[in-house]
């Protein structure tokens, strides 16, 4: 009786049509290539950025010497005799991001230690989403704060402060990137295994000792990465400074003065009526190139430091 049905021998299970299997494999392979192409797009973006910046900047450097660009202390692209020394833009960028980091690094460190080592779970669970929400507030709104709220407030204490200055946008930017700095360095501290914390507590360490002598040293590469990425963000931030720091290139390190940064210069030229191919038009790509290289260095250092702490545990 068992052999009466030769089409279904005892050992074989369900029959699958070879046609279906072929089709299935084809779909599988094409999906693979489609996904790979999508991943490759991200590389194309970088290639596009480098291509655009480089091609326009090269034309720019045909007319302006590289030496003048990297050493000059006067930046007047719109004058009849234009000068192209990047330092006034760099000094503005350095001052504003310096103030921002001076606010955001100590505050961020205290906050992240508090959240990761001290705060009860319910506090942490409440604060972290709030920080995430704050990360989403558009930067143009912070620019408004800096120009119309913080500067007038500062003028109460510093009567000589002009309406456009670097201090107010620096301070506001510091608060603005605080959620970012805090959550990155908190992540690094949370990645320190709990067994290390318990080891410290078992020796009689207080929370403060555990945080400062065990957790922070163990999370150092991640915390450094957080601050470097914050630096990258401060250097590349545009709207706060464009609104509140004035757009006059000014070679100064005095935060009480207004000055342009690399980013605000690009905004200023974009807002104006500059013809395609003119030297002023080309100069924003040269400035953008400097900005891209600066942040590239920070981003790469941040990437490798973060990778290190992720591998460590």
């Amino acid at each position: 009786m068992a052999n009466s049905n030769p089409a279904r021998p005892e050992s074989s299970g369900l029959q699958v049509s070879p046609h279906f299997l072929r089709k299935r494999e084809m779909v599988n392979q094409s999906a693979r290539y489609v996904l790979m192409a999508a991943a490759a797009v991200s590389v194309l973006v970088t290639i596009g950025i480098v291509y655009v910046l480089l091609s326009e900047a090269l034309v720019f450097f045909e007319e302006v010497s590289v030496w003048e660009f990297v050493s000059g202390t006067s930046w007047t692209p719109m004058f009849s005799v234009p000068t192209f020394g990047i330092w006034p833009l760099l000094s503005g960028t350095i001052v504003v991001s310096g103030i921002a980091l001076a606010v955001s690094i100590p505050f961020g460190l205290v906050l992240s230690v508090y959240l990761s080592e001290y705060a009860p779970d319910n506090v942490r669970e409440t604060v972290k989403p709030i920080l995430e929400l704050l990360e989403g507030v558009p930067t143009v709104v912070y620019g408004y704060f800096a120009l119309l709220l913080v500067t007038p407030m500062l003028q109460l204490f510093l009567p000589g402060l002009p309406g456009f200055n670097m201090l107010a946008p620096g301070l506001v930017m510091g608060i603005m990137i605080l959620p970012y700095t805090t959550s990155l360095s908190e992540d690094a501290m949370r990645a320190v295994p709990n067994s290390m914390r318990e080891g410290a507590y078992a020796l009689g360490y207080s929370r403060f000792h555990t945080a400062t002598r065990v957790v922070i040293p163990a999370a150092m590469s991640g915390i450094t990465a957080a601050f470097i990425l914050a630096m990258s963000r401060a250097v590349g931030e545009t709207m706060v400074v464009a609104i509140a720091a004035g757009q006059m290139p000014n070679f100064t390190f005095n935060p009480m003065e207004g000055a342009a940064t690399i980013t605000t210069f690009i905004v200023q030229v974009s807002l104006g009526d500059v013809s395609h191919g003119s030297i002023a038009y080309l100069s924003i790509f040269a400035a953008g190139m400097v900005l891209f290289l600066l942040t590239l260095v920070f981003n790469l250092i941040g990437f490798f430091l973060r990778k290190r702490y992720r591998q460590a545990y």
């Binding site: 318990e198 020796l203 360490y205 040293p217």
Partner: protein
């Protein structure tokens, strides 16, 4: 030892049933030995609840003999690690935990459940399942506990580092590379370093939470040797999942099951003449 006798009465089961001839009884639920040595601590009616309300320790009473090794055995989930971590109030790092009963340190007669956990941890040392040296040098690891106790004289530190590493049977292997990172050592060396780190502050009680469970047999043997060396010098409470290990290294053994203490006895007696049926089932592998 009048304190001991009083404490005995508090347990309510003064186990004078040490008569060697007595056979284990099918009906006996618990059995406690009242040991003869000086006690370092006595646990009375200890109960413990985690933050989510589950009770992990249910009415455990047992003594801890001074300068002897006491082992805690039992199936996984029986509460032996939880019990151990009551001794240095490790649970207090997490929210909502609750204790009742007492763990009295003797002869001071202080209930460590009522003390500041930070003080308790300065007096009671602990070594964990997985070696957890700090990402610092070997030397820095050994003195980690000393520094926060305000001891910073180089000469004193050097001496303590050497004695602790010798006690942990690690000195000869690392004396020439004390400034190397601790994480560069093998797992067994790391665990012995953690023991040295705990011994350096001369704890009144040393807690070992399955200290060899992450190690290979050779490293395990070294740690067992070292625990044998400590017997007679340091009061040790060790949790182990390995009955042979308990038999090899401990003077006293407690068998725990479902958060309760089933039997506390001298190690030899517990493994050769268990007094409770459930102990016998467990040690003979007939555990069901």
């Amino acid at each position: 030892m009048s304190a001991n006798e009083m404490a005995t009465n508090r347990i309510g089961q003064p186990a004078r049933m040490r008569a060697q001839s007595e056979r284990p009884s099918e009906t006996r639920e618990h059995w406690y030995l009242e040991p003869e040595g000086t006690l370092r601590a006595r646990v009375s009616n200890l109960k413990f609840w985690y933050g989510d309300g589950t009770q992990a320790i249910d009415d455990v009473s047992m003594p801890l003999v001074d300068k002897q090794v006491t082992a805690l055995i039992g199936p996984s989930g029986c509460g032996k690690s939880t019990f151990l971590r009551c001794f240095n109030r490790m649970h207090d790092l997490y929210q909502g935990v609750k204790y009742s009963g007492s763990i009295k340190l003797l002869p001071e007669d202080e209930n460590l459940i009522d003390l500041d956990p930070n003080i308790v941890r300065m007096r009671v040392g602990m070594v964990f399942q997985k070696p957890n040296p700090f990402p610092k040098s070997i030397y820095e690891n050994v003195i980690a506990g000393l520094k926060i106790r305000g001891i910073s004289k180089r000469g004193v530190l050097d001496e303590i580092v050497e004695t602790s590493l010798r006690q942990a049977a690690l000195w000869d292997e690392v004396k020439d590379r004390l400034d190397q990172p601790a994480l560069s050592m093998s797992g067994g060396q790391q665990q012995r370093l953690c023991i040295a780190r705990a011994l350096a502050v001369q704890p009144e009680i040393l807690l070992l939470d399955e200290p060899t469970s992450a190690l290979d047999p050779i490293a395990t043997a070294k740690i067992e040797d070292l625990i044998n060396q400590l017997s007679g010098k340091v009061t040790v409470l060790i949790v182990t999942h390995n009955m042979q290990q308990a038999a090899r290294i401990s003077n006293y053994t407690s068998y725990m099951y479902l958060g309760k203490l089933i039997e506390y006895n001298e190690t030899d007696s517990l493994f050769t003449r268990p007094m409770c049926q459930r102990t016998e089932d467990y040690i003979t592998g007939r555990f069901g």
